[in-house]
Amino acid sequence: MNLDYAIESTGLTRRFGSLTAVDHVNLAIPRKRIFGFLGPNGSGKSTTIRLLCGLLTPSEGSVEVLNYRIPEQAEVLKQKIGYMTQRFSLYEDLTVRVNLEFIAQIYCIEKAQRRARIEEALATYRLEDLVQQLAGTLSGGQRQRLSLAAATLHRPELLLLDEPTSAVDPQTRRDFWDRLFHLVDGGTTILVSTHYMDEAERCHNLAILDHGRIVANGEPETLMQEMDCNVVEVESATPRKIANVLQLAGNIVSVTQLGARQRVLVGKQQGDASGYVQQLLDAAELQAVCHGAPPSLEDVFVTVTRNTHLPGIS
């Protein structure tokens, strides 16, 4: 037990029949930080979050959340966490205000404070003009703001957000993240799952999940620096041909087209990455300009998830 951590887990595992959705996950999530779960569809993000709040029983392993043993002490924990489900889960046939009033009562926020809290939430999440609207008729971004307002109404110590910004435009996403940092300044710990690289980059700490396993874990900056590959960008008039050649070559982890350029990830054991790529293209008699580029988080993501898809490649 460590008071500096909001969430600690060892060997956390959950199976559904023969499928292992979460596979021996070890987590140590520091307090007052934003911790990100990045992973492709079906990698076990939602399942892990559900395990953390006691909605699912682990098949193996142990978890402590805010120093409560889960799932045994899950009921005590519920007053202290806020959970935003991946799917919109407020009542679509009730208005914005009625939904918030319901949540306020469910968390037994004192009657004297209830009104003020709701007004504050409405202002913070720019919902004042929508109070009388049915939640089911809100736009995607409005729904997400309402969900976050509801999840934070009782001032939880820990917020679990499951893909809170899917289907939301970039500007709304920025506003949303500003809110999250604001909450962290106020002392909240936030766990957020996402598909988006730009969001992942904003987290203090990041775990990349794939097939239920944590395949990379650390600060985004560190992950990029310590990446297993070098990045080479190739400019040419015939990007498709170049891709065909490079994909067959050894030590190439991935080739991705970005407009006229190809972004090539080369395994680190290959010393001079851009020289190596240039050599391959010259041998194939293809005209191209190669130069190194700084790694992005997407490169990290591709590298670590590739390893599990095709174990022999690097």
């Binding site: 559900r50 709040c53 006691g54 909605l55 699912l56 029983t57 799932p71 899950a74 009921e75 519920k78 007053q79 966490i81 959970y83 489900t85 799917r87 919109f88 889960s89 407020l90 009542y91 679509e92 046939d93 009730l94 009625v98 319901f102 949540i103 009562q105 469910i106 968390y107 037994c108 509801a150």
Partner: protein, 367 residues
Amino acid sequence: MKLSTTRLLAILVKELQQLRRDRLTFGMIVGIPLLQILLFGYAINTDVRHLSAAVADQAGTQLSRQLIADMEATQVIEVIRQVVTAAELKALLDRGEINIGILIPPDFERRLQQQERRAAQLMIDGGDPIILATARSLTNMSFNQRSGSRSNKAAEMFEVRNYYNPERRSSVFVVPGLIGVILTMTMVLFTAVAIVRERERGNLELLINTPVTTAELMIGKIIPYIVIGLIQVSLIMLLGMLLFRVPVNGQILDVYLVSLVFIAANLGLGLVISTVAKNQFQAMQLTFFFFLPSILLSGFMFPFEGMPKAAQYIAELLPLTHFLRLIRGIMLRGVELSQMANDIYALLVFMLLTIGFAILRFKKRLD
């Protein structure tokens, strides 16, 4: 068990607010009693009338024509065809064009004098027990007819009429039972879908992640529907009194008391269903699975005493059986509630068991 009034109230008010917006359910609350009472009160009537009949009057005498006229006067049958032979009657029966064939042989008058031989023949579509029973009573009438003709007293021919009870006693008997049937139908369904619907719409994942307890959730979902059930009871009784002059011979308070317990028992069963069913369709199937034996075995459709012993034992497990005894006792016979304590206890036990089971079975988990 800890109950927070704030949270209980939150669930309760939320349920009512959702209901207010749900026009279909709202319509069902009023629509089902209205439809059922009209259907059972008027259409499904055990006083059978206007069965279609054909006559082969081979005698063709004054007396035979009078017999037919008298039979028609009872309104039980309506002669739609006149034929000549028995074979023609049989053919009409086979084709389902008539329910009853009346054959009057050429020697009708002579047979009437001889007690040991029947004067006329009724050919019946006996597949339907109600028609069969009705036809049997028609043969009784023919006997009256015969004795009447013997003593030459025409007035006796109409004795039969009273037998058919022009006051429609059956609706008086049906309406109290209908309260039970309608409550079974609507109440079980309401709570059966209540939790399943939240699960389907994703609300449940949020709800079980809040401090709300299972008991608060269940009780908060029951209370609004108890109120609705009592409104339905009032509606059915009002319609019964206005349309069919159904009496309330006992205490009206007893009617409500008994209904209250019965409603809670059904809601409890609905909750059990909603902890078992995976989706709303399954919930409806399970509700129906329970509804059918309730209707058939409880004594609503067929007399309880006439059923085989095994069916009676099963029926004792159904809340509707006990409710029917109670409500008929109170409304029709004016019985005191204390005289039927066993049935009240049975309902109370059913209620406590179902609600308790639902609370125990429901887990604030997804697995």
